[in-house]
Symmetry: C2
DNA sequence: TCAATAGTGTCTATTAGACAGTATACC
DNA sequence: GGTATACTGTCTAATAGACACTATTGA
């Protein structure tokens, strides 16, 4: 249970060792967090009957300083020595969106040597999912501008080469982030190498129009993860308002998964993640829809 | 595509800015990697007919220096400024096991402020899965001793409290790592809080007999992840030798998942992940078993 | 009335769970 | 022969996919 008062080769106890410890011996990388803040927004339709179209949106900021001045980046910043990674992520999230207490998850820590031209920077990416009805975005000090961009994700091609004892599968994924007149695009090449038992995934930026750092890779990774998790967890409800129709929920699934779903199967599948309310939509040019809420109290996975 | 020669408020181009950039302004955390190296070993049986029992094993090193001198820790070390996180992980893996080119995956980056008594250290944990037949473990310089420990994972209790608009679910998990006369034990309390839409998982070390740092949490997290991934990926084959029987494969699934499986369903499920060979086991006190290999060339997920 | 969406019923195909039963080596 | 494991057949239950059908509103 408790540690014994052992002494090391120099006869020091742990307490003595720590008092004499010089933390400044080695050169260190800097650590940052980068935030992938997603939400879902609606676009009004010209036809009064039609439901508003939904789209997945990601928050980007235009860099106001070197490096990558003028380019678009994920919100983020340095982790100070006296705050945890998660606290730093929450701080960044709050400073950009003014909201707290939302779903947030660490995705991946990016540690390539040359990823920041200023110096060695290791960055943990966090994904946050927020309900747009709770949002008031503002630009922080280091950002010239912060805005929501509609996310497009398209697999351009998928090729596969057989090797001795394995294969290499390459996918080229086009990412499109746009917002009114601005359209940022890029292509990430995702390579999966399988050799014997060893499987390895690598991402390279093949084309880049307007994204700072390696943020394009982070965006691709986050969407891949979001797609995966949506299938076997309840995280999608973090993107929904408190009350929603099953059709709305289905649309959100569809835009995240990038494919259409059949309503009956969908309804069966999510049936016990949601609970009916007594309320209905109204003023639609068609049959009103029952409103549902997320059923927290269900016996989950 | 290419970045324009924009200048910032001070009239500097990016190149000029980078030349004048002073990277030494802020105090920085140190960054380490910690390795969770798993393998599967067999224990011979007294009864010649019985199959050898298998167990999941984890590599630990006994610390030869302060802090936590004498306690057991995950192999790991500092990331130098000129190597990537992944390179550091591979270096550590190689220095402990003398093997390279095995399955390795980043799990999580641990960034609590007080997790290392020496100074602020942020640590990325990586999981490696190795086939024991390929192994020759050796202790590195910073390790007094490196050894494989049999992993036990048991959910002691699971309690659930309902809250307004959510719940708190707490699981107490007993971890037992043992190796001959040494038995390290600990209890990790895993708390899942759901409030409205927000779900949050926290881990605390509730009991600790012999583990350094927060490594008990890392071990619990890794096993949780390994269990999850085994169900929807092929990573398990990284723990298998090149040729294996379906019963052996089933046993490995069972020890990782912590529950028994039915053979017919199991065989159907993994049928197209494996390929038959012409070989059979022999000298067993019972019917010989066909040997299989991992089928790399299958159209995977 | 009709466009557009909401919602249900049901057939079929696929998959998972359970368990009985047969097969085969080696001491 | 008997023990321990290898392997298959088949019934049943649960789940997913497909599609047809009915229901309901506001302009």
């Amino acid at each position: 249970m408790s540690r014994e008062p052992v002494t090391d080769r120099k006869g020091l106890t742990e307490e003595q060792f720590l008092q004499g410890y010089d933390a400044g011996m080695y050169e260190r990388p800097s650590v940052t967090v980068d935030m992938l803040i997603f939400t879902v927004m609606e676009r009004e339709q010209d036809n009064y009957r039609k439901l508003p179209e939904k789209s997945l949106q990601l928050l980007l900021i235009q860099r106001g300083e070197h490096p990558f001045l003028g380019q678009w980046a994920l919100p983020g910043g340095f982790v100070s020595v006296d705050e945890s990674l998660e606290d730093a992520a929450r701080r960044e999230l709050y400073s950009e969106t003014n909201i707290d207490n939302v779903y947030m998850e660490q995705l991946f820590t990016w540690g390539e040597v040359g990823r920041d031209p200023r110096m060695r920077v290791i960055s943990s990416s966090y994904m946050a999912l927020v309900d747009r009805t709770a949002l008031h975005v503002q630009a922080g000090d280091d950002a010239a501008d912060a805005d929501w961009f509609e996310v497009g994700y398209e697999v351009l091609e998928s090729s596969r080469k057989e090797l001795a004892g394995g294969y290499v599968q390459e996918e080229r994924i086009r990412l499109t982030l746009h917002k009114e007149e601005i359209a940022l695009t890029g292509v990430v090449s995702r390579t999966e190498t399988v050799q014997g038992h060893v499987r390895r995934v690598q991402r390279e930026i093949a084309e880049n129009n307007g994204f700072a750092f390696d943020h394009l890779k982070m965006i691709q990774y986050a969407i891949e993860r979001l797609r995966g998790k949506v299938e076997y967890t309840d995280i999608i409800f973090n993107l929904m308002p408190p009350l929603f129709t099953l059709s709305e929920l289905q649309r959100v699934y569809e835009i995240i998964l990038g494919r259409e779903l059949l309503a009956p199967a969908f309804r069966r599948k999510i049936a016990d993640s949601v609970a009916e309310t007594a309320e209905y939509t109204k003023d639609a040019g068609h049959r009103p829809s029952k409103l549902y809420r997320y059923r927290v109290d269900r016996d989950s996975n």
